[in-house]
C-alpha cells in the first residue's frame, strides 16, 4: 500500500468517526470540532485518492486549499453564533437536544 492510498483510508476512518460524533453529540462546540475533523478526512480522501497510483497532482491540492479557507470561514461564523447563543440562552445545545 502506498502512502497516498493510506491517506485516503485514514481519511475515510476520520470521516466516519467524526460523523458519528457529529450526529451523536449535542454540545455544539463538539459538533463543530467534529465537522472540522470530517472536513480534514474529506481533504485526505480528495488528495490521497486522486494521487493514488498517478503521482502528484496540483489540482486536488488547490481544491483542498480552497476547501480549507471555506471551512475556516464556516468555523468562524459558527463560533460567533455559538457564543451569541450561549450568551442568550446559557445553553450549549440546541433547544430540542437539551435534556
Amino acid at each position: 500500500m502506498n502512502a497516498d492510498r493510506l491517506y485516503a483510508y485514514v481519511g475515510v476512518v476520520l470521516f466516519a468517526m467524526a460523523m458519528y460524533a457529529f450526529l451523536t453529540h449535542t454540545h455544539l462546540l463538539r459538533r463543530l470540532l467534529a465537522f472540522n475533523v470530517m472536513g480534514g478526512g474529506t481533504f485526505l480522501i480528495l488528495v490521497g485518492l486522486a494521487q493514488d497510483g498517478r503521482g502528484p497532482d496540483p489540482v486536488p491540492q488547490a481544491l483542498v486549499l480552497t476547501g480549507i479557507v471555506v471551512a475556516v470561514s464556516a468555523t468562524a461564523l459558527a463560533i460567533i453564533l455559538l457564543r451569541r447563543w450561549f450568551a442568550l440562552s446559557r445553553s450549549t445545545a440546541l433547544p430540542e437536544d437539551q435534556s
Binding site: G39, T42, A50, R54, T66, V70, A74
Partner: protein, 497 residues
C-alpha cells in the same frame, strides 16, 4: 459600438455583487439616504446585467468564460446556458424586490429599532454572489464553493433577527448546511479520483455506470437533499425560514433552497444520466410525495402565519422531487414534459413564495402579532397585502391562470404519459392541502370584528409583493418563451436518460 457578448458579461455577475458586498461593509456604519442610494444603484445594475445576459443567451446560445484567462482545471470556468441565465435573471428580480422591501423599511423607519439590522447588506450581496456562482459554475468544485458560501450567508441572514429563536434556528440551519456540504464534497472527491476532472461537460462524456461513481452520486444526492430540505431531512427549514426577517425569508424560500436543487438536477441529468437508476428516482419521488403531504398537513395545523408559509415551502419543494420518477426511466416525451413542469414550478414558486412571505410580513407588521388568528378582520384594512397573498396562493395551489398551474399541468401530463397514476394523486392532494391552508388565512381576514386594531404599513410593501405575485400569474399566460429558453440544450429534453 458592438453589443457586449454573453461571455464578457459572465464575470460581472459575480464581480458586481461582490463589489457591492465590500462597499456595504465599508459604509456599514452609515444610515439613511446614502445607503439606500448606493444599494439601489447596485440592484439596478444587477438587474440590468441579468437582463442583458438573458437576452444575449436566449438570442445567440450558450456562452462560457474562463476567469482571469485561467482555464479549468486550475482556473474557474463559468458557463451560461438557457437554464442558468434564466435563474440568474430570476435571482436578480427576486432579490431586487426583497431589496426594495428593505429600503422601504429603512425609509419608513423613524425610530432606531425598526432599522435594518447591521450586516444585512453585506450578507445580502454575498448571498446574491454565491447564487450567481452556482448558476454559472462550470465544474463540481466551484459548485461546492458556491453552495458553502450560499449556506454561510443564508445562516448569517437568519441570525440577523438576533432573538434566541433566531440564533437557535440559524445554528440548526448551519449544522445541516455543513453536513450537507461535506457529504457533497466527499462525493466530489470520489468523482475526481475516478475521472481526474470535475468540469461538467467533460464528466458528462466520461461518466459510466459503476459502483464508485454511484456511491459518489448517492453521497452528493444525500447532501443536496439535506440542503434542499427534502422530507424527512426538512426539520431545519421551517424554523429558519419562519423566524428570519421577512425579506430574508423570501430570499431563502424563493432562491436559496433552489441552489442545491439546481446542482442536484445538473448532476442527475446533465452530468451523470448514465449512472442514475429508476429505482433511486422513484425513491426521491416517494420522499417528494412525503414532503408534499407532510408539509401541507403541517401548514394546515400551524398557528403562526410565517411558519405556515415556511411549511408550505417544504411541501412545494416536494413537487420538485416528483420530477425524478417522471423523468428517469420513462419515455422521451414524459421526461420532456416533466422537465418543463419542474423548471416552471421552480420559477413560479420563487415568485409566488417570495410574494407570499413579503405579504405575510406586511400583514404581521400591521397586526402587530404573528398568529393566523391575529389576522381576524384584517381584510378591511389591508386589502392590497391580502390580494398579493391571494395571487401568490393561486399559483401555489396550482389554480389557473398561473405559473403554478401550468407547471402542475405539465407534471400531470407527464404522469399520464408514463402511466404513473400515483404521482397524479399526489399532485392533486397537494393542491387541495394548499387550498386548505391558503384559505385558512382568508377566512380570518374576512371576519368582521370591530375591536381589532391595525397599524398602517408603507405602501411600498404592497407594491413589491403585488409585483412578484403578478409575475407568478403572468407566467401562467406566457410560459412558452421562458420554457423554451430554459430547456434549450438540456440533455433530458432529447431523451438523454
Amino acid at each position: 459600438m458592438t453589443a457586449v457578448s454573453a461571455g464578457q458579461l459572465l464575470p460581472w455577475l459575480l464581480v458586481a455583487p461582490l463589489a457591492w458586498a465590500v462597499i456595504a461593509v465599508l459604509i456599514e456604519s452609515r444610515r439613511g439616504a446614502l445607503t439606500i442610494a448606493v444599494h439601489a444603484i447596485g440592484v439596478l445594475l444587477h438587474v440590468a446585467l441579468g437582463v442583458a445576459l438573458y437576452t444575449s443567451v436566449a438570442r445567440s446560445g450558450p456562452a462560457a468564460h474562463a476567469l482571469g484567462g485561467w482555464s479549468a482545471p486550475l482556473g474557474i470556468g463559468l458557463r451560461a446556458d438557457g437554464l442558468a441565465v434564466t435563474l440568474v435573471l430570476l435571482t436578480a428580480v427576486v432579490s431586487a424586490a426583497c431589496a426594495v422591501y428593505v429600503m422601504t423599511t429603512e425609509r419608513a423607519a423613524h425610530d432606531a429599532d425598526a432599522e435594518t439590522p447591521r450586516y444585512f447588506w453585506p450578507l445580502f450581496w454575498l448571498l446574491v454572489t454565491s447564487l450567481n456562482g452556482i448558476w454559472l459554475a462550470g465544474d463540481l468544485f466551484n459548485l461546492y464553493v458556491g453552495l458553502e458560501l450560499l449556506g454561510l450567508s443564508a445562516v448569517g441572514l437568519v441570525a440577523l433577527g438576533g432573538s434566541e429563536t433566531a440564533l437557535s434556528s440559524a445554528l440548526r440551519y448551519l449544522m445541516a448546511a455543513l453536513l450537507g456540504s461535506l457529504a457533497y464534497l466527499l462525493g466530489v472527491a470520489l468523482i475526481y479520483a475516478a475521472y481526474g476532472t470535475l468540469a461538467l461537460p467533460e464528466l458528462a462524456e466520461l461518466i459510466a455506470r459503476e459502483p464508485l461513481t454511484q456511491l459518489a452520486i448517492a453521497l452528493m444526492t444525500i447532501g443536496l437533499c439535506l440542503k434542499t430540505a427534502l422530507f424527512p431531512l426538512h426539520g431545519w427549514l421551517p424554523p429558519a425560514h419562519g423566524v428570519a426577517l421577512t425579506p430574508v425569508s423570501a430570499l431563502l424560500s424563493a432562491l436559496v433552497v433552489k441552489g442545491s436543487f439546481y446542482i442536484l438536477f445538473r448532476l442527475w441529468f446533465d452530468v451523470a444520466p448514465e449512472a442514475v437508476t429508476p429505482l433511486a428516482a422513484q425513491g426521491l419521488g416517494v420522499l417528494g410525495a412525503g414532503a408534499v403531504l407532510w408539509g401541507g398537513w403541517q401548514a394546515l395545523r400551524e398557528p403562526k402565519l410565517k411558519m405556515l408559509v415556511a411549511h408550505s415551502t417544504v411541501a412545494q419543494l416536494g413537487y420538485l422531487f416528483l420530477f425524478f420518477p417522471l423523468a428517469v426511466g420513462t419515455g422521451v416525451s414524459a421526461a420532456a414534459l416533466a422537465t418543463q413542469g419542474m423548471l416552471l414550478h421552480l420559477v413560479a414558486h420563487a415568485f409566488a413564495k417570495s410574494a407570499m412571505f413579503l405579504a405575510s410580513g406586511t400583514l404581521i407588521a400591521a397586526a402587530g402579532r404573528g398568529g393566523v388568528a391575529d389576522l381576524a378582520g384584517i381584510g378591511r384594512h389591508m386589502p392590497m397585502s391580502l390580494f398579493a397573498f391571494g395571487l401568490a396562493g393561486v399559483s401555489l395551489m396550482g389554480l389557473p391562470p398561473s405559473g403554478g398551474f401550468n407547471a402542475k399541468w405539465l407534471l400531470l401530463q407527464s404522469a399520464l404519459a408514463s402511466g404513473q397514476w400515483f404521482w397524479l394523486c399526489v399532485l392533486l392532494s397537494g393542491g387541495l392541502l394548499t387550498a386548505g391552508y391558503v384559505f385558512r388565512v382568508f377566512r380570518e381576514s374576512f371576519v368582521e370584528s370591530k375591536d381589532s386594531q391595525f397599524t398602517p404599513t408603507p405602501r411600498g410593501y404592497d407594491w413589491v409583493a403585488l409585483t412578484l405575485a403578478a409575475m407568478a400569474i403572468a407566467l401562467g399566460l406566457a410560459s412558452q418563451a421562458p420554457l423554451s429558453t430554459m430547456t434549450s440544450g438540456l440533455r433530458v429534453m432529447a431523451g438523454g436518460t
